[in-house]
Structure formats: C-alpha cells, structure tokens
C-alpha cells in the first residue's frame, strides 16, 4: 500500500509519455485479444492514462519467435510516472501470451498517426520522379531550339526588304548615273 501511495504522489508531480508495443500470440482469438487489452488498459489506468491505442492486426514476423511465424501487433501511447515502468515491464514479462514487448520514452513533439490512416508511399514516388526527370530536359531542348529559330526568321525577314530598298536605290542611282 505504501508503494501505491508513493506512486500516486509522484504521478501528480511528473508524468512522462511512453510508447508500448506488444506482440501477442497469433493463436489467440479476437475476443481473447480484446480481453487481454482491456486488462492491460485497467492495469495502466491504476497509475496513469492511455492517450492512444492502435491494433495493427496479424502481421508476419521478420524471424521466428517462440515457434511463431506471425504475431498480433498492438501499440499504446500512455502517460505514467517514470517509476511505474518497472512494474509495466514485469507485468509484460510474466505474461505467457505476450511474445515480445518494447517500452520507449516518447520524444518531444511526437504525434501518433494510426497505422490504417498512413498514406502509401509507392503511389507518390513515381509521380514525383517522372515529371522532374522529363520536364527540365524537354524545356531545355525547346529553349535551345526556339531562340535559334527566332533570330534566323528575324534576320531573314528584314533583310530582303532592306536589300530590295538598297537595290532600288542603287539601281535608281545607277540609272541616273548612267
């Protein structure tokens, strides 16, 4: 009881944000998973509060853990006093249905976005790359071509008129002279 009182006093003084990630056994049914998470919620609410909870669902593991190839990923964002992390760690270590867990302090200015609401990167990438690769080259080519054509036309266009005028003058002059 004395420990709990101390925890309560500390919780008022300073709370720290933590992120907890769990991997549950894939053999659990959905109802069992819900029960498990409710228990964990209540356990944390005894000392702090839950700011976000996200269930990723069943995912393939990168390597085998305890004869399991798949696992149910769950992410929690919680606020608890720093001294309570030991108890959370112990609580998860003892649990046989939690394959693996991670407790991490959250850095400043961190906002959790849910797994289902994340944008797909693969759709954006080619759209970004294609125009940037194509446009400048085409623009450069056009620019190179256009100014080259334009002065030629301008140079050719005025010259015949001027030449005609000069020729006429010369011819008139020549006629007069002759």
């Amino acid at each position: 009881m004395t420990k709990k009182e101390e925890v309560a006093e500390e919780s008022v003084a300073e709370m720290q944000g933590y992120e907890v990630m769990l991997i549950l056994k894939p053999t659990l049914l959905e109802a069992a998973v819900g029960k498990k998470l409710k228990e964990f919620d209540e356990f944390i609410k005894s000392a702090g509060k839950v700011t976000a909870q996200d269930n990723w669902g069943k995912r393939r593991l990168a390597y085998r853990i305890k004869q399991c190839d798949e696992g149910v990923y769950v992410v929690y964002n919680i606020e608890i006093p720093p001294s309570f992390t030991k108890e959370v760690n112990q609580h998860l270590q003892i649990d046989p249905e939690v394959i693996r867990h991670l407790i991490m302090a959250i850095p400043e200015g961190y906002i959790y976005t849910k797994f289902s609401e994340e944008p797909d990167q693969e759709e954006e990438k080619p759209a970004r790359k294609a125009p940037s690769a194509v446009k400048p080259r085409a623009a450069i080519k056009k620019k190179e071509v256009k100014p080259a054509e334009a002065p030629k036309d301008e140079g050719i266009a005025p010259s015949p008129e001027a030449l005609d005028a000069k020729l006429n003058k010369l011819l008139e002059g020549e006629d007069l002279n002759i």
């Binding site: 990630m21 991997i23 593991l61 990168a62 390597y63 853990i65 696992g71 992410v75 693996r100 991670l102 991490m104 850095p107 200015g109 961190y110 959790y112 976005t113 609401e117 994340e118 944008p119 990167q121």
Partner: protein, 80 residues
Amino acid sequence: MAKYIFSTNQKFPPGKRRCTFCTNQMKDIDYKDVKTLKHFLNAFRKIKGHYYTGVCLNHQKKLSNAIKRARHMALVPFTN
C-alpha cells in the same frame, strides 16, 4: 510516423552526400516506419556506413537506435 520522405543522393559522390534527415527537417526517427529504415540497410540487412548514405553523425546515432528497436520487434530482420 508517417514521415517517410526519402531521396537517394546518387548524383553526389560517396564522400559528399547530404543528410536526408537534415534536409527534410526530421528531428527524430521512428522505428515503426520500416520503409525509410530499409534504405539504410545492406543486402545482408546490416546498417550502411554514413560515408555511403551521407547521414550526419547526430542522425546516424538515432537511425541505428531506431533500426535496433525495429529488429527487436521483428519488423526488420537481423540477417538475410
């Protein structure tokens, strides 16, 4: 978490590549966005040296921590 912006500095030679996290103004690196982390892993899934990726020392430390966390949670393999 949804900040997986990435540009490979392939146009620069290995010694002169810029830090992609500094250019995108990312203070912290999340261990959950596997797509960015995979750019900094080898074919053997080892962490690439910052000489080849251009990551500054401040971000390289954070990157290595993020990759180690991702390995622990089986999001990224240790070896291949």
